[in-house]
């Protein structure tokens, strides 16, 4: 056993009446890649955000390198060697990459108060190349890079020579395949240099592959610590899941049949669609069919989803809903299309609004009688969906921003269930959703298929596409690279080859 870098003793954290952490003890040793796993709201991010100085614990002690540790801000923590990368975007827009990398350290590059930007850009390029990010240049505006690359810039900014502990908080969901590899290599390097990494992820496979030790949390308490040797054992996955969820959720995760049959009617058709990005895309989505679209982030699959809802400009071709052109979002909804956005909090939900307000939003025209919408009708419709989807809440008037990620996602499903839409476009339907809710979602999606609804499932998770889709389309460079029918033998490795 190597030296302890960070020790947490009896840490408690309360948000008003809500207990986020209960007497948590945790040791981070040198050379560890320490995984933290648990459902949404189990306290993973709370622990690390306290250790990295984002917030203070209600009670408890921390020791870092043997000394009492009480960072008052993220800046202080990072200067002393505890860095953290967050799930949300954290770069400064409208600045160059170099300015982002050296924000707060301009003094090193300035003479008489003027910043020597050429010197700073050179240093930035050097830093980027150390992180294998040679495709980016220090002088470029950060705006020219996508979300994935900006995440990597944050990574390069967070990890310095002083860094002893790196906290990676659900960052991988935001990264592309290549970006993940860079991150994994960095994590391995830090561990090899006798530093430590705290790795938070919802992806169990990723955790098992990269972590040397794993701590499982539930309801703010530690439920189990699993060593590397145990992780490799048979049945470890189901054991970890059981620790996380608190009950045996069984092996039945995705649908069990492999018939891949569907109704005959074409619900949604893309006819030779192209715009500045997408090249000549054609697809027929039938009633009662789940079509999965997969690929690397940035392959154009998200745009395909937006097109069906009239949100993208088309240069050529048509998107037809039962033979009728889809003009815009209002028209799409009227024709029975529902769209669950990838950016749940920005595009799908009114966070500062009641659950019921969100659920009935698309259905208001249907609830209208002589121009008036009855509040009782609204409440009834919302209540039905809350019960049907088992959304965990006090009542429909609770605000959405008080819900956990999984329950928020249920609300965005409920909007279209309430509307009775029969073509559902779901973009990353289970992103940031924990296992228990995930299973319920898959069940729901399958029931929707059985009820004859047409489903377009766009996802970055190959496993769920293989597990759920009747037909799987792989996109690469804005066009279809390969189509797979549903089959038992299909594996992720078969697919990945067409993605890259």
């Amino acid at each position: 056993m190597k030296e302890i870098l960070l020790e947490i003793k009896k840490m408690n954290k309360k948000f008003g009446p809500i207990v986020a952490l209960k007497d948590v003890d945790l040791e981070i040793r040198r050379g560890q890649i320490h995984g933290l796993i648990g459902e949404n709201g189990s306290g993973k991010s709370t622990i690390t955000s306290i250790a990295a100085g984002m917030q203070q614990a209600t009670s408890g002690e921390m020791f870092y390198l043997g000394e009492p540790w009480k960072p008052s801000s993220m800046v202080e923590a990072q200067a002393k060697g505890v860095s953290m990368i967050l799930q949300e975007a954290n770069t400064i827009p409208n600045c160059t990459v170099a300015e982002n990398l050296f924000a707060g350290q301009e003094d090193h590059f300035s003479t008489l108060g003027f910043v020597n930007s050429r010197k700073m850009n050179r240093a930035a390029d050097e830093l980027l190349s150390r992180f294998e990010l040679t495709h980016m240049k220090g002088r470029d505006s950060i705006n020219t890079y996508g979300f994935e690359d900006r995440k990597l810039v944050e990574l390069a900014r967070a990890v310095t020579d002083e860094t002893q502990i790196l906290v990676v908080d659900e960052t991988t969901t935001a990264l592309s395949f290549e970006g993940r590899k860079i991150l994994y290599r960095l994590m391995d390097r830090l561990a090899a240099e006798d530093k430590a990494v705290i790795f938070i992820s919802h992806d169990l496979d990723e955790i098992l592959e990269h972590c040397t030790i794993l701590t499982v949390l539930r309801d703010g308490e530690i439920r189990g610590v699993i060593q590397k040797e145990e992780m490799q054992k048979e049945g470890s996955v189901s054991r970890i899941r059981q620790l996380m969820v608190g009950r045996d959720i069984g092996d039945q995760f995705y649908r069990s049949d492999y018939d891949g049959s569907h109704g005959s009617g074409v619900a949604l058709e893309y006819r030779n669609v192209s715009n500045e990005k997408i090249k000549d895309f054609s697809l027929k989505l039938h009633e009662g069919e789940i079509v999965g679209i997969g690929g690397l982030s940035g392959c154009g699959m998200h745009e395909i989803g937006r097109m069906a809802f009239g949100l993208e400009h088309l240069d050529h071709g048509h998107v037809l809903c039962r033979g009728k052109e889809v003009l815009n979002a209002t028209d799409a909804v009227r024709q029975g299309i529902g769209y669950i956005s990838k950016n749940r909090d920005q595009e799908a939900l009114i966070l500062e609004g009641a659950i019921s307000t969100n659920i009935v939003m698309p259905s208001l025209p249907d609830l209208r009688k002589a121009g008036f919408v009855s509040p009782a009708g609204e409440r009834k419709l919302a209540k039905e969906q809350i019960d049907l989807l088992a959304i965990k809440c006090e009542n429909g008037s609770q605000w959405v921003n008080t819900l956990s990620g999984g329950n928020k996602q249920k609300v965005s499903f409920a909007k279209w269930m309430a509307k009775g839409s029969d073509i559902i476009i779901m973009d990353c339907p289970t992103r940031g959703v924990d296992i228990g809710v995930k299973q319920a979602m898959y069940q729901l999606i399958y029931e929707m298929k059985k009820a004859g609804k047409a489903i377009l499932m766009i996802s970055e998770e190959m496993a769920e596409l293989i597990g759920m889709a009747d037909r799987l389309i792989i996109m690469k460079d804005f066009e279809i690279a390969k189509e797979f029918p549903r089959s038992e033998g299909l594996s992720e490795t078969d697919i990945i080859e067409y993605m890259i």
């Binding site: 948000f15 595009e347 939003m361 008080t402």
Partner: protein, 319 residues
């Protein structure tokens, strides 16, 4: 357990309580300071007269503020409407014709305010600045054209000057706006747009259409407000309407309206705010406060209300 519920209830409704509380507090303090003069029949009449136009305008403005937008062209619009109403009424001898003309014009403005900003991809405030300048210019030109400092109405408008007429107008507009706000798509969508415009659009709501409706309703309120202002003053000039945009904003904020709009917006803000605003000025004067201090005191009251209602809540739960 009861205690916790009580606390939560307080926290959730603190905005409501405060806006009512502000009004009640003003009433109590000024009742005492003015030695009851606040409640004299004469003064109540003055209060209603003063609050009438503000209340009518504010009820329309709630729909705009709910979306997180604001309209600063109100003052200049009122100025032009008053002058036009007087000129047309004088020329034709029919008040109805004068009112219909400004009503028509206000609908067009509503359309411009709502539609043009969307078409040109401009923030609504920019279009309203544009309209403000245009109307300011038109007001000037009209007054230059008639070549007097003010135009007076020759039609007998005393029936609109009565307290009864004003109360009826306030009640009618209140019933209509509460109905629209609480029980129709217009009210629900304007709040939703303020809370998250993208999510509202992606729920299949035609944001442009409802935006225009909101501005049109506001336009109707402005026209009615201009009518009552004309009735009260009997004349209009270059300065008519100046300051109304800001007054309405202050009144709404005093009534507990969040500037960013959204789900916390309430229609009651308009009435409470308009009366609080008027009582604050009236009460200070009645209590014999030196006029030179009135502004400072108003500013402090305003700041106190805003600090409590619009401050960001901290301690947000992480994922």
């Amino acid at each position: 357990m009861n205690k916790i519920v009580g606390k939560d209830w307080l926290r959730v409704h603190s905005g409501d309580l405060l806006s009512y509380g502000g009004l009640v507090l003003c009433l109590i303090i000024f009742s005492i300071l003015s030695k009851g003069k606040l409640w004299s029949a004469y003064n109540v009449g003055i209060l209603i007269q003063a609050a009438c136009v503000y209340a009518i305008l504010a009820m329309g403005a709630v729909f705009i503020y709910s979306m997180g937008y604001m309209d600063i062209s109100v003052g200049a619009q009122i100025g032009v409407y008053c002058i036009l109403c007087i000129m047309i009424t004088n020329a034709t001898g029919s008040l109805l014709l004068g009112f219909l003309a400004i009503l028509g014009l206000s609908l067009v403005c509503g359309l411009i305010n709502g539609y043009v900003s969307v078409m040109l991809g401009l923030p609504s405030i920019v279009t309203s600045i544009f309209l403000n300048s245009i109307f300011g210019g038109v007001q000037m030109l009209l007054m230059e054209w008639v070549d007097t400092n003010s135009v007076g109405i020759q039609y007998d408008m005393s029936f609109l000057k009565s307290i009864t007429a004003m109360v009826i107008a306030i009640v009618v507009i209140a019933v209509i706006s509460i109905g629209l706000y609480k029980y129709t798509q217009l009210g629900k969508y304007t709040k939703a747009i303020g809370a998250n415009e993208t999510a509202t659009k992606l729920s299949g709501v035609s944001v442009t259409k409802w935006k225009v409706f909101a501005y049109i309703f506001f336009g109707v309120c402005i026209a009615v407000g201009a009518l009552f202002l004309t009735a009260r003053t009997g004349s209009a000039g270059k300065g008519t309407g100046t300051g109304y945009a800001m007054d309405i904003m202050v009144a709404l904020l005093l009534g507990g309206m969040p500037l960013s709009g959204g789900m916390r917006s309430r229609i009651s803000s308009s009435l409470i705010g308009a009366f609080t605003y008027v009582i604050l000025s009236n009460g200070l004067t009645l209590s014999g406060v030196d006029t030179s201090y009135v502004y400072v005191i108003k500013a402090l009251v305003f700041l106190a209300v805003i600090l409590i209602t619009c401050r960001k809540k901290d301690g947000v739960l992480p994922r």
